[in-house]
Symmetry: C2
Subunit: 278 residues, 2 copies
């Protein structure tokens, strides 16, 4: 069965989008469609240009016998600005204000198209970093970690507050929460993280950074290293931040319980060393 | 700026894949590319045929002034068989066996490409059902719920074992776990679920069905109704199942701790009333 170019373009687009960061040999597509490698190369050139123009991502071509093509999720600056601005609008809604000055984020974390945008933004920021695995802490970091993972195509490991029989043997650490100064526990299943892994740490909200810092300490128990830290929201009003090398999409600059107002601005995403599709 | 057909096909494919179950007016694409509606209709006919042939999904065209096109994730039977068989291979690995006969699933739940397949399979099974929201219980059900949600384009709500300040006011119920007969608690944030919602309940593992049944009871507190129940693995050795109208992808038929063996087979996915792409 022969395929027309139009059908190949559609199928290759779907195939690559489902497998970001995976090297696919040109011969795979040539055999899949019964086409010459030269035709496939032309297809990929068209897809590459369209992906770049429409802010979908990069196609990287790796030459040679073991070469092929790789789709990398990347956003352009304009789209990123719009996505972060959408997040800010959502977060600034005063209905999110909970007693104690906490923010209700659950609806945002449960919104799949918003989470896909968050995943695209952060996967784009870490596209050039070596990342073997994404780590987060249950429960609220999980949708963010899953969203990034689907665009970086790496596994997610979940740190828990308590150990469960279904996790097998675990490693646990105690750490001091940055803002409340309470001692808390973190548990990670032993077999969930290989020694020497390069880890992207992710969370929904960061105040002083105690939780994120706890995850950093936990990584040491696995001889793993931190490739980056990313949060959806950071809080600005912090006496002493425990971590500094992180990326935040948004920043909570003020919460006024009395007047029921929330002020949110861009995080350090655009001022970090993030590169964009041009 | 004018777009060639090849560029339109690639961009429309990406656009629709990112927005399953969302009705997009033809005029949207006509304006996006400065093309005639008739050209867009031809593009969509090519995409529809390719999506069906390659097992990607359906394109539904809704005629009329308020009409448009909608991408629905659907799998064909052959692909579904392969995906479930891949799951069975993973699950049958004796290394998963934990003391007490429990199965270690954490690596599978953290694998984004596997979770995407699970999401495709279950979103396909429930594509024709009315579903407003997907509900699961923390922690292990979350990646499955997120994966299905991204293909059905509906929000996820997460039931917890304990209440947290960041959830606002909550509704809690007690229920009896089906297998251990212990009394347990489930908590759901009040504002996370609208009254009258149609809910797909999801979990990673089902034994007697106590947890899934607990979620059903919790839904009654929200005057919400069950549109379906889906699990990754069901356990066959159950004296009395508390629920019956569920879909399972796989079935754990035997666990032998002494001989360190696990026997896994297909769940009821293919014998349920699931329809496939043809």
């Amino acid at each position: 069965m022969k395929f027309k170019r139009s059908e190949r373009l559609i199928d290759i687009t779907h195939f690559l989008l489902e497998r970001p960061h995976e090297l696919v040999p040109l011969t795979f597509f040539a055999e899949r469609y019964g086409s010459a490698k030269s035709s496939i190369s032309e297809d990929l050139a068209i897809i590459k240009e369209t992906f770049e123009q429409r802010g979908i991502g990069n196609l990287q071509t790796v030459p040679g016998a073991s070469g092929g093509v790789k789709y990398i999720t990347k956003v352009n600056r304009d789209d990123a600005k719009k996505m972060v601005s959408e997040l800010i609008t959502h977060l600034g809604n005063a209905d999110r204000l909970l007693p104690g000055g906490y923010l209700y984020l659950t609806d945002l974390l449960g919104n799949p198209s918003l989470m896909n945008k968050v995943g695209r933004l952060l996967a784009s920021a870490y596209a050039e970093k070596e990342i073997d695995v994404i780590m987060t802490v249950a429960t609220k970091g999980i949708p963010i970690a899953n969203a990034i993972a689907s665009h970086l195509n790496v596994p997610v490991v979940i740190v828990r507050r308590d150990s469960k029989v279904t996790e097998g043997s675990t490693v646990s650490i105690n750490y001091v929460s940055g803002s409340s100064k309470r001692i808390q526990t973190m548990v990670l299943s032993k077999r969930s993280l290989k020694e020497g892994s390069k880890v992207l740490i992710v969370d929904d909200f960061m105040k002083a950074g105690g939780t994120v810092n706890g995850m950093k300490n936990l990584l040491e128990e696995f001889s793993a290293t931190v490739s980056g830290m990313a949060v959806l929201v950071e809080s600005e009003n912090v006496d002493e931040r425990l971590v500094d090398d992180y990326i935040s999409l948004t920043k909570l600059t003020d919460v006024n319980e009395k007047e029921k107002s929330i002020t949110v601005s861009e995080g350090n995403y655009f001022t970090s060393d993030t590169t964009f599709l041009s």
